[in-house]
Amino acid sequence: MRIKQFIFIFLTSILVLSNYAFQVRQPQGQEYNLKAAFLYRFLDYVEWNNNSSWNNTTEDPLRIAILGESGLYGPLMEISRDKKAGTRTIRVRQINSVSEIGSSQVIFVSRNYKYGIDAVLNRMLDKPALIISEQKGDVEKGSHINFLIADNKLKFEVNLKTAARSGIKIGSQLLQHATLIKK
């Protein structure tokens, strides 16, 4: 039991350390600044069309939920403070469980969320929320938009099929910059 505990602590510390090391190597602040800027701009090219209460033109705030710990929170909060999505104010929330999603229109699944994209997809099944993720392979699983880094640049892929199923229309202007479009 002690040994087991020790090994666990050892492994996690290595994991944390290596994670830390990884974070140091990648200019993570820069990465999440960009992701926040991209995410904010996605809002211009995305339409929620199956329910009028979700529509961009309403006076209700647009709610963004960040699932799991993420460097995105800070930069996104900053954007939400002085910018709007169309006429709507933006409200950003950090949550730790899918049960807290509520009526958020945008869900960002952090790579630190331990249950991964599947849990979110199961929960949200065809509900009108834009699901954005940042792990390789997530778009194949059904994430609507997935960030990836290639050639030292931030890129993204789009799954039109699942997005359409959720009643989300992604504008062609956005699609033209996607590295991969799943239909």
């Binding site: 800027a37 991209f38 701009r41 090219y45 931030l154 993204f156 202007q173 956005l174 033209q176 910059h177």
Partner: protein, 462 residues
């Protein structure tokens, strides 16, 4: 150097009109070409700005998502539409090049800040900067274009060609119109000059210039006509005076002559006799002079009556030589060549007067002791009688003038007396006989005076 004054009025008018035309056309074309080029530039600026606008709005999302390839593709695709683009760049909001395009085989142009909306021209290119702005008015970057002014040269060339052709046509037309126009000005002047010349040559002061219209030339012409009327008038008065005077002089002189004739036939002391002969001589000269003056006044007033009869030329000449020889003592008059056996129709006394005149001139203007030759030459239609002496001769420039009234050649003026009427009367008589009179002579080499009479209905004497 030819001064403007050396040009005729006709050429001046044409020149003036052509110059005016060139000036006006030139100014018009300069204005046209300038507005055309400016118009083209303006249109080019407008189209390039809207083209930059299209590029800008098409690349907003590319800038947003940092997609250089998409932006470059946009640039590449659009330059195919607007082929004049040489260099195009999209610069982001911090002034860094985000995407760039350079037409193949052209040098890359680096666009310099400031990146705000502006445009300017250099020698060959138009440069346009256009900010990329979204609906909220946020500036994402700038589209920078370098555009070739490909049609400018073509437009210039075309305009200059048109200008050249039209200028040519304009000048040709101006020349034509000026040429047609000048006739209204220079032609009447030349006509006036012609009439003046004829009047001077023929002393025919009754000739008038046609007066057409009411312009300055017409005024000049009509004033000229008035002047000529005045001249003709004073000539007529002079002729009238000569006529009256010679007539009034002739009557008393005739009686003086008769009395002297009678006196000379009486017996006198030798001295008195010589005096009487001298007086007779002077009176005879005076009488001849008055007869000449009378003839002239008859000719002038058209009252010279001719008494036409058939007469033998040979007889006429023989008789004249006999008569003349009586008065001409210092020269021998010879009939040369063969006789002609011709009969002509004419006034015997008047023709005798002509021949005597020519003979007396020949004697008067040649040294004593020389001989004078009279000759006839016949042709099919006429007969020519000539009188040749070996006297002082006449300069070529005076040949025409000596047949004029009161004209005497310069050399003869002082030495030899005379009125200058003999040849004038001769020429008028021959003219009335439809003949011609003339002279062949050189200064110092003698003279040959001749007259030609027509042989109409001629018969040969058997």
């Amino acid at each position: 150097m030819i001064g403007l004054r050396d040009f005729s009025i006709k050429n001046k008018l044409v020149l003036m009109q052509v110059l005016t035309c060139v000036l006006v056309l030139g100014l018009c074309f300069a204005a046209f070409v300038i507005t055309d080029i400016n118009g083209y530039k303006g249109r080019k600026v407008a189209s390039t700005i809207s083209f930059a606008q299209v590029i800008g709005s098409n690349s907003i999302s590319a800038i947003q998502f940092l997609d250089n390839e998409a932006a470059e593709k946009t640039l590449f695709d659009l330059q195919e539409v607007e082929t004049d683009v040489v260099n195009a760049s999209i610069v982001d909001s911090r002034g860094k090049i985000f995407a760039a395009y350079t037409r193949p085989n052209q040098t890359t142009h680096v666009f310099k800040p400031p990146f705000r909306n502006r445009h300017w021209f250099d020698d060959q290119y138009l440069y346009v900067y256009k900010n990329i702005v979204d609906q909220q008015g946020q500036i994402f970057g700038t589209v920078c274009l370098q555009v070739e002014l490909s049609q400018l040269e073509a437009i210039k060339k075309q305009k200059f060609e048109i200008a050249f052709v039209l200028l040519f046509v304009g000048i040709a037309l101006a020349f034509l119109i000026a040429y047609l126009n000048q006739r209204y000005i220079s032609a009447p002047i030349l006509n006036l000059v012609n009439v003046m010349k004829q009047i001077r040559e023929n002393s025919d002061y009754s000739r008038h210039v046609d007066v057409i219209g009411k312009d300055e030339i017409s005024i000049l012409s009509s004033e000229f006509n008035n002047l000529m009327d005045e001249v003709a008038n004073s000539h007529r008065k002079k002729d009238e005076f000569i006529g009256i005077a010679s007539h009034e002089l002739k009557t008393p002189l005739t009686s003086v002559k008769l009395y002297l004739d009678a006196l000379s036939k009486m017996k006198h002391e030798p001295l008195v006799h010589t005096f009487i002969l001298k007086s007779k001589d002077g009176v005879k000269k005076l009488h001849n002079l008055i007869l000449d003056l009378l003839d002239v006044s008859k000719i002038e007033s058209g009252q010279l009556q001719l008494n036409h009869k058939d007469l033998s030329i040979d007889d006429l000449i023989d008789e004249c030589i006999q008569d003349a020889q009586m008065n001409i003592v210092n020269h021998t008059i010879l009939r040369e060549g063969t006789k002609c056996d011709k009969i002509i129709h004419g006034d015997r006394d008047r023709l005798e007067q002509v021949l005597i005149n020519l003979l007396s001139n020949a004697a008067k203007y040649s040294p004593n002791g020389t001989s004078i030759a009279v000759k006839t030459v016949t042709s099919d239609n006429d007969i020519t009688v000539s009188v040749t002496d070996s006297g002082i001769g006449i300069a070529g420039s005076e040949h025409k003038k000596i047949f004029g009234r009161f004209y005497r050649a310069k050399d003869s003026n002082s030495v030899i007396s005379g009125f200058g009427l003999g040849l004038y009367i001769c020429s008028q008589i021959i003219k009335r006989h439809k003949g011609k009179i003339g002279v062949d002579s050189q200064e110092g080499k003698g003279s040959t005076f001749y007259f030609t009479l027509p042989l109409n209905g001629e018969q040969k004497l058997s």
